[in-house]
Symmetry: C2
Subunit: 260 residues, 2 copies
Protein backbone atom coordinates (compact mmCIF):
# COMPACT_ATOMS: atom_id res chain seq x y z
CA UNK A 1 0.00 0.00 0.00
CA UNK A 2 0.89 3.67 -0.27
CA UNK A 3 2.09 5.26 2.98
CA UNK A 4 1.57 9.00 3.48
CA UNK A 5 2.81 11.01 6.42
CA UNK A 6 2.40 14.56 7.61
CA UNK A 7 2.95 16.53 10.80
CA UNK A 8 -0.82 16.61 11.30
CA UNK A 9 -3.96 16.55 9.23
CA UNK A 10 -2.93 19.07 6.53
CA UNK A 11 -1.38 16.23 4.53
CA UNK A 12 -4.83 14.75 4.16
CA UNK A 13 -5.19 17.09 1.18
CA UNK A 14 -2.58 14.78 -0.39
CA UNK A 15 -4.40 11.64 0.78
CA UNK A 16 -7.59 12.97 -0.72
CA UNK A 17 -5.95 13.75 -4.07
CA UNK A 18 -4.38 10.24 -4.16
CA UNK A 19 -7.72 8.66 -3.27
CA UNK A 20 -9.40 10.57 -6.08
CA UNK A 21 -6.79 9.91 -8.75
CA UNK A 22 -5.81 6.38 -7.71
CA UNK A 23 -8.89 4.82 -6.12
CA UNK A 24 -7.66 1.31 -6.93
CA UNK A 25 -4.75 1.48 -4.46
CA UNK A 26 -4.89 1.16 -0.69
CA UNK A 27 -3.40 3.93 1.37
CA UNK A 28 -2.29 4.31 4.95
CA UNK A 29 -1.87 7.73 6.51
CA UNK A 30 0.08 8.83 9.56
CA UNK A 31 -0.43 12.29 11.07
CA UNK A 32 1.96 13.20 13.89
CA UNK A 33 -0.52 15.33 15.81
CA UNK A 34 1.23 14.73 19.14
CA UNK A 35 4.24 16.71 17.88
CA UNK A 36 2.60 19.02 15.35
CA UNK A 37 3.49 21.52 13.92
CA UNK A 38 6.83 20.83 12.22
CA UNK A 39 7.23 24.11 10.34
CA UNK A 40 8.40 26.05 13.37
CA UNK A 41 10.89 23.41 14.56
CA UNK A 42 14.59 22.87 13.82
CA UNK A 43 15.94 20.79 10.90
CA UNK A 44 17.38 18.18 13.32
CA UNK A 45 14.06 17.69 15.07
CA UNK A 46 12.11 17.53 11.80
CA UNK A 47 14.56 14.94 10.42
CA UNK A 48 14.19 12.72 13.50
CA UNK A 49 10.41 12.86 13.30
CA UNK A 50 10.44 12.07 9.57
CA UNK A 51 12.47 8.91 10.19
CA UNK A 52 10.03 7.82 12.94
CA UNK A 53 7.05 8.39 10.68
CA UNK A 54 8.56 6.51 7.74
CA UNK A 55 9.39 3.55 9.98
CA UNK A 56 5.84 3.50 11.29
CA UNK A 57 4.43 3.30 7.75
CA UNK A 58 6.93 0.66 6.59
CA UNK A 59 6.17 -1.48 9.65
CA UNK A 60 2.51 -1.29 8.73
CA UNK A 61 3.27 -2.58 5.24
CA UNK A 62 3.73 0.53 3.09
CA UNK A 63 5.69 -0.16 -0.13
CA UNK A 64 6.00 3.47 -1.21
CA UNK A 65 6.08 6.66 0.87
CA UNK A 66 4.71 10.11 0.19
CA UNK A 67 6.05 12.88 2.41
CA UNK A 68 2.92 15.03 2.54
CA UNK A 69 4.51 17.73 4.69
CA UNK A 70 6.54 20.39 2.90
CA UNK A 71 8.63 21.11 5.99
CA UNK A 72 9.63 17.44 6.27
CA UNK A 73 10.08 17.10 2.50
CA UNK A 74 12.30 20.17 2.30
CA UNK A 75 14.61 18.95 5.03
CA UNK A 76 14.49 15.15 5.17
CA UNK A 77 13.59 13.74 1.73
CA UNK A 78 17.16 13.07 0.60
CA UNK A 79 18.10 11.41 3.86
CA UNK A 80 14.98 9.22 3.81
CA UNK A 81 15.79 8.14 0.24
CA UNK A 82 19.29 7.11 1.34
CA UNK A 83 18.08 5.35 4.46
CA UNK A 84 15.05 3.43 3.20
CA UNK A 85 14.85 1.12 0.23
CA UNK A 86 11.38 2.10 -1.07
CA UNK A 87 10.32 4.79 -3.54
CA UNK A 88 9.92 8.08 -1.68
CA UNK A 89 7.72 10.74 -3.24
CA UNK A 90 7.33 14.19 -1.82
CA UNK A 91 5.26 17.30 -2.40
CA UNK A 92 8.04 19.61 -3.55
CA UNK A 93 9.50 18.20 -6.79
CA UNK A 94 6.13 17.78 -8.58
CA UNK A 95 5.12 21.31 -7.61
CA UNK A 96 8.44 22.63 -8.90
CA UNK A 97 7.99 20.80 -12.21
CA UNK A 98 4.51 22.22 -12.62
CA UNK A 99 5.58 25.74 -11.69
CA UNK A 100 8.45 25.69 -14.18
CA UNK A 101 6.20 24.46 -16.99
CA UNK A 102 3.42 26.90 -16.11
CA UNK A 103 5.13 30.26 -15.75
CA UNK A 104 5.34 32.53 -18.76
CA UNK A 105 7.11 35.51 -17.16
CA UNK A 106 9.61 33.33 -15.28
CA UNK A 107 8.63 35.05 -12.03
CA UNK A 108 7.50 32.42 -9.52
CA UNK A 109 6.25 32.99 -5.97
CA UNK A 110 6.48 30.40 -3.19
CA UNK A 111 4.72 30.47 0.18
CA UNK A 112 5.36 28.02 3.01
CA UNK A 113 6.21 27.55 6.67
CA UNK A 114 9.34 29.08 8.13
CA UNK A 115 11.21 25.73 7.98
CA UNK A 116 10.33 25.23 4.31
CA UNK A 117 11.23 28.75 3.23
CA UNK A 118 14.44 28.77 5.28
CA UNK A 119 15.54 25.52 3.62
CA UNK A 120 15.55 27.39 0.29
CA UNK A 121 14.62 24.15 -1.45
CA UNK A 122 12.08 25.58 -3.92
CA UNK A 123 14.58 28.18 -4.99
CA UNK A 124 17.29 25.59 -5.53
CA UNK A 125 15.08 23.11 -7.34
CA UNK A 126 13.53 25.70 -9.63
CA UNK A 127 16.95 27.17 -10.46
CA UNK A 128 18.31 23.71 -11.30
CA UNK A 129 15.67 23.48 -14.02
CA UNK A 130 15.57 27.09 -15.09
CA UNK A 131 18.48 29.18 -13.80
CA UNK A 132 17.09 32.31 -15.43
CA UNK A 133 13.84 32.28 -13.42
CA UNK A 134 13.27 34.60 -10.51
CA UNK A 135 11.83 33.13 -7.31
CA UNK A 136 10.16 35.19 -4.60
CA UNK A 137 9.58 33.37 -1.32
CA UNK A 138 7.50 34.30 1.67
CA UNK A 139 7.10 32.37 4.91
CA UNK A 140 3.58 32.48 6.34
CA UNK A 141 3.90 30.87 9.80
CA UNK A 142 0.44 31.79 11.07
CA UNK A 143 -1.50 30.16 8.24
CA UNK A 144 -1.22 26.65 9.68
CA UNK A 145 -2.66 27.61 13.09
CA UNK A 146 -5.39 29.62 11.34
CA UNK A 147 -6.37 26.64 9.19
CA UNK A 148 -6.25 24.33 12.19
CA UNK A 149 -8.59 26.70 14.01
CA UNK A 150 -10.96 26.41 11.07
CA UNK A 151 -10.78 30.17 10.44
CA UNK A 152 -10.92 29.54 6.70
CA UNK A 153 -12.95 32.57 5.77
CA UNK A 154 -12.55 34.94 8.71
CA UNK A 155 -11.72 38.61 8.46
CA UNK A 156 -8.61 38.03 10.54
CA UNK A 157 -7.32 35.35 8.17
CA UNK A 158 -7.92 37.65 5.20
CA UNK A 159 -6.01 40.40 6.92
CA UNK A 160 -3.04 38.19 7.77
CA UNK A 161 -3.02 36.82 4.22
CA UNK A 162 -3.00 40.36 2.88
CA UNK A 163 0.06 41.10 5.01
CA UNK A 164 1.91 37.95 3.93
CA UNK A 165 1.04 38.29 0.25
CA UNK A 166 1.76 42.02 -0.06
CA UNK A 167 5.47 41.60 -0.92
CA UNK A 168 4.59 39.00 -3.57
CA UNK A 169 1.96 41.28 -5.10
CA UNK A 170 4.71 43.83 -5.69
CA UNK A 171 6.54 41.38 -7.93
CA UNK A 172 5.30 40.49 -11.35
CA UNK A 173 4.74 36.80 -10.54
CA UNK A 174 2.35 34.74 -12.67
CA UNK A 175 2.67 31.47 -10.73
CA UNK A 176 2.40 30.89 -6.97
CA UNK A 177 3.35 27.59 -5.34
CA UNK A 178 1.29 26.66 -2.27
CA UNK A 179 4.28 25.19 -0.45
CA UNK A 180 2.38 23.73 2.50
CA UNK A 181 -0.33 21.08 2.42
CA UNK A 182 -2.56 23.19 4.67
CA UNK A 183 -2.77 25.98 2.13
CA UNK A 184 -5.16 24.35 -0.37
CA UNK A 185 -7.82 25.01 2.29
CA UNK A 186 -7.15 28.72 1.75
CA UNK A 187 -6.92 28.45 -2.04
CA UNK A 188 -9.95 30.64 -2.78
CA UNK A 189 -8.80 33.41 -0.44
CA UNK A 190 -5.27 33.32 -1.85
CA UNK A 191 -6.50 33.25 -5.44
CA UNK A 192 -8.82 36.16 -4.73
CA UNK A 193 -6.07 38.16 -3.06
CA UNK A 194 -3.52 37.57 -5.83
CA UNK A 195 -5.96 38.25 -8.68
CA UNK A 196 -8.08 35.56 -10.28
CA UNK A 197 -6.86 36.00 -13.84
CA UNK A 198 -3.33 36.99 -13.04
CA UNK A 199 -1.85 34.16 -11.04
CA UNK A 200 -1.88 30.41 -11.45
CA UNK A 201 -1.75 28.60 -8.08
CA UNK A 202 0.20 25.34 -7.88
CA UNK A 203 -1.34 22.91 -5.40
CA UNK A 204 1.38 20.48 -4.34
CA UNK A 205 -1.21 17.97 -3.06
CA UNK A 206 -2.61 17.48 -6.54
CA UNK A 207 0.80 17.55 -8.23
CA UNK A 208 2.27 14.78 -6.08
CA UNK A 209 -0.80 12.59 -6.69
CA UNK A 210 -0.46 13.16 -10.45
CA UNK A 211 3.24 12.28 -10.31
CA UNK A 212 2.50 9.07 -8.43
CA UNK A 213 -0.20 8.19 -10.96
CA UNK A 214 2.20 8.63 -13.88
CA UNK A 215 4.86 6.64 -12.07
CA UNK A 216 2.45 3.78 -11.42
CA UNK A 217 1.31 3.73 -15.03
CA UNK A 218 4.93 3.38 -16.08
CA UNK A 219 6.15 0.94 -13.41
CA UNK A 220 4.35 -2.39 -13.28
CA UNK A 221 6.53 -3.68 -10.43
CA UNK A 222 5.46 -0.95 -8.02
CA UNK A 223 1.87 -1.11 -9.27
CA UNK A 224 1.68 -4.82 -8.37
CA UNK A 225 3.16 -4.22 -4.92
CA UNK A 226 0.57 -1.58 -4.18
CA UNK A 227 -2.59 -3.33 -5.35
CA UNK A 228 -5.60 -2.73 -3.17
CA UNK A 229 -6.00 -4.77 -0.01
CA UNK A 230 -8.57 -3.44 2.39
CA UNK A 231 -9.84 0.01 3.35
CA UNK A 232 -7.70 3.09 3.66
CA UNK A 233 -6.63 3.82 7.23
CA UNK A 234 -5.83 7.08 8.96
CA UNK A 235 -3.51 6.87 11.96
CA UNK A 236 -2.60 9.78 14.22
CA UNK A 237 -0.34 10.14 17.26
CA UNK A 238 -2.91 12.31 19.04
CA UNK A 239 -6.59 12.96 18.52
CA UNK A 240 -8.53 16.17 19.13
CA UNK A 241 -11.86 17.57 18.03
CA UNK A 242 -10.11 20.26 15.96
CA UNK A 243 -8.23 17.54 14.03
CA UNK A 244 -11.43 15.59 13.41
CA UNK A 245 -13.10 18.75 12.12
CA UNK A 246 -10.22 19.62 9.77
CA UNK A 247 -10.10 16.05 8.44
CA UNK A 248 -13.82 16.16 7.66
CA UNK A 249 -13.45 19.56 6.04
CA UNK A 250 -10.73 18.17 3.75
CA UNK A 251 -12.57 15.00 2.76
CA UNK A 252 -16.09 16.39 2.84
CA UNK A 253 -17.15 13.29 4.76
CA UNK A 254 -16.57 11.51 8.06
CA UNK A 255 -13.06 10.05 8.48
CA UNK A 256 -12.15 7.59 11.22
CA UNK A 257 -8.89 8.65 12.88
CA UNK A 258 -7.11 5.85 14.75
CA UNK A 259 -4.81 6.87 17.57
CA UNK A 260 -1.58 4.92 17.90
CA UNK B 1 17.09 23.79 43.03
CA UNK B 2 13.71 24.87 41.67
CA UNK B 3 12.62 23.04 38.51
CA UNK B 4 10.27 24.81 36.12
CA UNK B 5 8.77 23.28 33.00
CA UNK B 6 6.64 24.54 30.16
CA UNK B 7 5.65 23.41 26.67
CA UNK B 8 7.99 26.03 25.24
CA UNK B 9 9.40 29.40 26.17
CA UNK B 10 6.17 31.04 27.43
CA UNK B 11 6.86 29.63 30.90
CA UNK B 12 9.96 31.79 31.04
CA UNK B 13 7.65 34.53 32.26
CA UNK B 14 7.41 32.35 35.39
CA UNK B 15 11.17 31.78 35.50
CA UNK B 16 11.71 35.50 35.26
CA UNK B 17 9.27 36.24 38.08
CA UNK B 18 10.94 33.59 40.28
CA UNK B 19 14.38 34.99 39.45
CA UNK B 20 13.23 38.48 40.41
CA UNK B 21 11.45 37.54 43.64
CA UNK B 22 13.79 34.75 44.77
CA UNK B 23 17.24 35.61 43.42
CA UNK B 24 18.92 33.56 46.14
CA UNK B 25 17.69 30.23 44.75
CA UNK B 26 19.00 28.34 41.75
CA UNK B 27 16.53 27.40 39.08
CA UNK B 28 16.51 24.96 36.20
CA UNK B 29 14.09 25.36 33.32
CA UNK B 30 12.87 22.85 30.76
CA UNK B 31 10.96 23.98 27.66
CA UNK B 32 9.57 21.19 25.50
CA UNK B 33 9.96 23.03 22.21
CA UNK B 34 10.23 19.81 20.20
CA UNK B 35 6.59 19.02 21.03
CA UNK B 36 5.18 22.50 21.58
CA UNK B 37 2.39 23.63 21.77
CA UNK B 38 0.43 21.64 24.38
CA UNK B 39 -2.76 23.69 24.43
CA UNK B 40 -4.15 22.17 21.24
CA UNK B 41 -3.35 18.56 22.22
CA UNK B 42 -5.36 15.91 24.06
CA UNK B 43 -5.36 15.43 27.87
CA UNK B 44 -3.66 12.02 27.53
CA UNK B 45 -0.83 13.44 25.45
CA UNK B 46 -0.36 16.45 27.73
CA UNK B 47 -0.25 14.16 30.79
CA UNK B 48 2.44 11.95 29.24
CA UNK B 49 4.57 14.96 28.34
CA UNK B 50 4.19 16.44 31.83
CA UNK B 51 5.50 13.23 33.41
CA UNK B 52 8.50 13.23 31.03
CA UNK B 53 9.30 16.85 31.86
CA UNK B 54 9.04 16.36 35.62
CA UNK B 55 11.34 13.33 35.44
CA UNK B 56 13.87 15.35 33.45
CA UNK B 57 13.95 18.07 36.11
CA UNK B 58 14.12 15.62 39.04
CA UNK B 59 16.98 13.74 37.36
CA UNK B 60 18.82 17.06 37.08
CA UNK B 61 18.42 17.63 40.82
CA UNK B 62 15.24 19.71 41.18
CA UNK B 63 13.75 19.51 44.69
CA UNK B 64 10.55 21.37 43.88
CA UNK B 65 8.64 21.68 40.60
CA UNK B 66 6.68 24.54 39.11
CA UNK B 67 4.36 23.64 36.25
CA UNK B 68 4.66 26.86 34.26
CA UNK B 69 2.22 25.78 31.55
CA UNK B 70 -1.47 26.28 32.25
CA UNK B 71 -2.47 23.50 29.87
CA UNK B 72 -0.24 21.01 31.71
CA UNK B 73 -1.23 22.39 35.13
CA UNK B 74 -4.93 22.13 34.36
CA UNK B 75 -4.70 18.52 33.29
CA UNK B 76 -1.72 16.89 35.01
CA UNK B 77 -1.02 18.66 38.34
CA UNK B 78 -2.97 16.24 40.53
CA UNK B 79 -1.43 13.20 38.89
CA UNK B 80 2.10 14.63 39.19
CA UNK B 81 1.48 15.29 42.92
CA UNK B 82 0.44 11.67 43.42
CA UNK B 83 3.30 10.30 41.37
CA UNK B 84 6.24 12.37 42.57
CA UNK B 85 7.36 12.99 46.12
CA UNK B 86 8.37 16.66 45.83
CA UNK B 87 6.35 19.85 46.27
CA UNK B 88 4.59 20.66 43.00
CA UNK B 89 3.52 24.25 42.41
CA UNK B 90 1.50 25.34 39.43
CA UNK B 91 0.26 28.52 37.83
CA UNK B 92 -3.47 28.00 38.38
CA UNK B 93 -4.12 27.89 42.14
CA UNK B 94 -2.23 31.12 42.95
CA UNK B 95 -4.04 32.96 40.15
CA UNK B 96 -7.38 31.65 41.42
CA UNK B 97 -6.60 32.82 44.96
CA UNK B 98 -5.66 36.25 43.70
CA UNK B 99 -8.72 36.54 41.47
CA UNK B 100 -11.07 35.56 44.31
CA UNK B 101 -9.53 38.11 46.67
CA UNK B 102 -9.46 40.83 44.00
CA UNK B 103 -12.93 40.82 42.48
CA UNK B 104 -15.56 43.13 43.90
CA UNK B 105 -18.43 42.30 41.58
CA UNK B 106 -17.84 38.54 41.74
CA UNK B 107 -17.68 38.42 37.94
CA UNK B 108 -14.36 36.90 36.86
CA UNK B 109 -13.12 36.33 33.32
CA UNK B 110 -10.57 33.67 32.33
CA UNK B 111 -8.69 33.37 29.05
CA UNK B 112 -6.50 30.42 28.07
CA UNK B 113 -5.70 27.77 25.49
CA UNK B 114 -8.36 25.37 24.34
CA UNK B 115 -7.00 22.57 26.61
CA UNK B 116 -7.05 24.83 29.68
CA UNK B 117 -10.53 26.23 29.07
CA UNK B 118 -11.96 22.79 28.18
CA UNK B 119 -10.58 21.37 31.44
CA UNK B 120 -12.87 23.82 33.28
CA UNK B 121 -10.31 23.98 36.08
CA UNK B 122 -10.50 27.72 36.78
CA UNK B 123 -14.25 27.49 37.02
CA UNK B 124 -14.09 24.59 39.46
CA UNK B 125 -11.34 26.08 41.60
CA UNK B 126 -12.96 29.50 41.84
CA UNK B 127 -16.35 27.97 42.69
CA UNK B 128 -14.78 25.85 45.44
CA UNK B 129 -13.72 29.08 47.13
CA UNK B 130 -16.67 31.26 46.22
CA UNK B 131 -19.67 29.33 44.87
CA UNK B 132 -21.61 32.54 44.32
CA UNK B 133 -19.10 33.99 41.82
CA UNK B 134 -19.76 33.97 38.09
CA UNK B 135 -16.93 32.84 35.81
CA UNK B 136 -16.78 33.66 32.10
CA UNK B 137 -14.19 31.68 30.14
CA UNK B 138 -12.86 32.18 26.64
CA UNK B 139 -10.33 30.06 24.80
CA UNK B 140 -7.91 32.06 22.65
CA UNK B 141 -6.01 29.42 20.65
CA UNK B 142 -4.28 31.79 18.24
CA UNK B 143 -2.61 33.95 20.88
CA UNK B 144 0.24 31.49 21.51
CA UNK B 145 1.26 31.31 17.82
CA UNK B 146 0.94 35.11 17.57
CA UNK B 147 3.23 35.61 20.59
CA UNK B 148 5.68 33.02 19.26
CA UNK B 149 5.76 34.92 15.97
CA UNK B 150 6.66 38.04 17.92
CA UNK B 151 3.54 39.85 16.65
CA UNK B 152 3.15 41.52 20.03
CA UNK B 153 1.83 44.81 18.78
CA UNK B 154 0.56 44.11 15.28
CA UNK B 155 -2.78 45.21 13.91
CA UNK B 156 -3.67 41.57 13.26
CA UNK B 157 -3.04 40.61 16.89
CA UNK B 158 -5.17 43.52 18.06
CA UNK B 159 -7.97 42.42 15.76
CA UNK B 160 -7.85 38.81 16.93
CA UNK B 161 -7.75 39.94 20.56
CA UNK B 162 -10.79 42.12 19.94
CA UNK B 163 -12.65 39.08 18.59
CA UNK B 164 -11.66 36.86 21.52
CA UNK B 165 -12.35 39.48 24.19
CA UNK B 166 -15.67 40.72 22.78
CA UNK B 167 -17.82 38.15 24.67
CA UNK B 168 -16.02 39.00 27.94
CA UNK B 169 -16.54 42.72 27.39
CA UNK B 170 -20.30 42.04 27.34
CA UNK B 171 -20.13 40.70 30.89
CA UNK B 172 -19.62 42.93 33.84
CA UNK B 173 -16.25 41.39 34.85
CA UNK B 174 -13.82 43.35 37.00
CA UNK B 175 -11.04 40.73 37.08
CA UNK B 176 -9.48 38.82 34.20
CA UNK B 177 -7.13 35.87 34.70
CA UNK B 178 -4.38 35.50 32.08
CA UNK B 179 -4.59 31.72 32.07
CA UNK B 180 -1.59 31.07 29.85
CA UNK B 181 2.03 31.99 30.50
CA UNK B 182 2.36 33.48 27.02
CA UNK B 183 -0.27 36.10 27.70
CA UNK B 184 1.76 38.42 29.96
CA UNK B 185 3.54 39.40 26.74
CA UNK B 186 0.19 40.78 25.52
CA UNK B 187 -0.72 42.37 28.85
CA UNK B 188 -0.76 45.94 27.61
CA UNK B 189 -2.92 45.14 24.60
CA UNK B 190 -5.34 43.13 26.73
CA UNK B 191 -5.48 45.81 29.42
CA UNK B 192 -6.11 48.47 26.81
CA UNK B 193 -8.83 46.42 25.15
CA UNK B 194 -10.64 45.61 28.40
CA UNK B 195 -10.41 49.14 29.82
CA UNK B 196 -7.53 50.38 31.91
CA UNK B 197 -9.54 51.42 34.96
CA UNK B 198 -12.20 48.78 34.74
CA UNK B 199 -10.42 45.45 34.84
CA UNK B 200 -7.68 44.04 37.02
CA UNK B 201 -5.52 41.52 35.16
CA UNK B 202 -4.19 38.52 37.10
CA UNK B 203 -0.78 37.40 35.84
CA UNK B 204 -0.31 33.78 36.88
CA UNK B 205 3.46 34.02 36.38
CA UNK B 206 3.78 36.59 39.15
CA UNK B 207 1.24 34.88 41.40
CA UNK B 208 3.00 31.51 41.37
CA UNK B 209 6.33 33.16 42.16
CA UNK B 210 4.74 35.02 45.10
CA UNK B 211 3.21 31.77 46.36
CA UNK B 212 6.56 30.02 46.19
CA UNK B 213 8.20 32.91 48.03
CA UNK B 214 5.66 32.73 50.85
CA UNK B 215 6.02 28.97 51.01
CA UNK B 216 9.80 29.23 51.27
CA UNK B 217 9.59 31.86 53.99
CA UNK B 218 7.40 29.49 55.99
CA UNK B 219 9.19 26.20 55.27
CA UNK B 220 12.81 26.02 56.34
CA UNK B 221 13.19 22.41 55.19
CA UNK B 222 12.44 23.22 51.58
CA UNK B 223 14.40 26.48 51.77
CA UNK B 224 17.52 24.58 52.80
CA UNK B 225 17.10 22.02 50.03
CA UNK B 226 16.86 24.75 47.44
CA UNK B 227 19.77 26.96 48.43
CA UNK B 228 21.73 28.40 45.57
CA UNK B 229 24.31 26.24 43.85
CA UNK B 230 25.49 27.60 40.54
CA UNK B 231 23.91 29.55 37.71
CA UNK B 232 20.36 29.14 36.47
CA UNK B 233 20.09 26.88 33.43
CA UNK B 234 17.61 26.84 30.59
CA UNK B 235 17.14 23.52 28.80
CA UNK B 236 14.98 22.98 25.72
CA UNK B 237 14.13 19.93 23.61
CA UNK B 238 14.51 21.93 20.39
CA UNK B 239 16.11 25.24 19.54
CA UNK B 240 15.02 27.79 16.95
CA UNK B 241 15.68 31.45 16.31
CA UNK B 242 12.07 32.32 17.16
CA UNK B 243 12.48 30.68 20.59
CA UNK B 244 15.72 32.55 21.24
CA UNK B 245 14.01 35.82 20.31
CA UNK B 246 11.01 35.20 22.57
CA UNK B 247 13.28 34.20 25.47
CA UNK B 248 15.22 37.44 25.10
CA UNK B 249 12.02 39.45 24.88
CA UNK B 250 10.83 37.92 28.16
CA UNK B 251 14.09 38.42 30.07
CA UNK B 252 15.19 41.63 28.40
CA UNK B 253 18.67 40.14 28.08
CA UNK B 254 20.50 37.29 26.36
CA UNK B 255 19.60 33.81 27.64
CA UNK B 256 21.63 30.70 26.82
CA UNK B 257 19.29 27.89 25.76
CA UNK B 258 20.81 24.41 26.06
CA UNK B 259 19.39 21.72 23.80
CA UNK B 260 18.98 18.26 25.34
Amino acid sequence: MIGIFDSGVGGMTVARAVETLLPEFQLIYYGDLARTPYGSKSPETITGYSIDNTEFLLNRGAKAIIIACNSAASIAAELLRQKFDVPIFEVITPAVDRAVSTTVSGNIGVIGTRATIRSNIYDEKIKQKAPQFRIYSQSCPLLVPLVEEGWLDSRETKMILRKYLAPLKQKNIDTLVLGCTHYPLLKDLIQHRMGRNKIRLIDSSIEVALTLKTHLEETAALRNLLSRGSDNRYFVSDITQAAINTAEKIFGRHIVLEKV
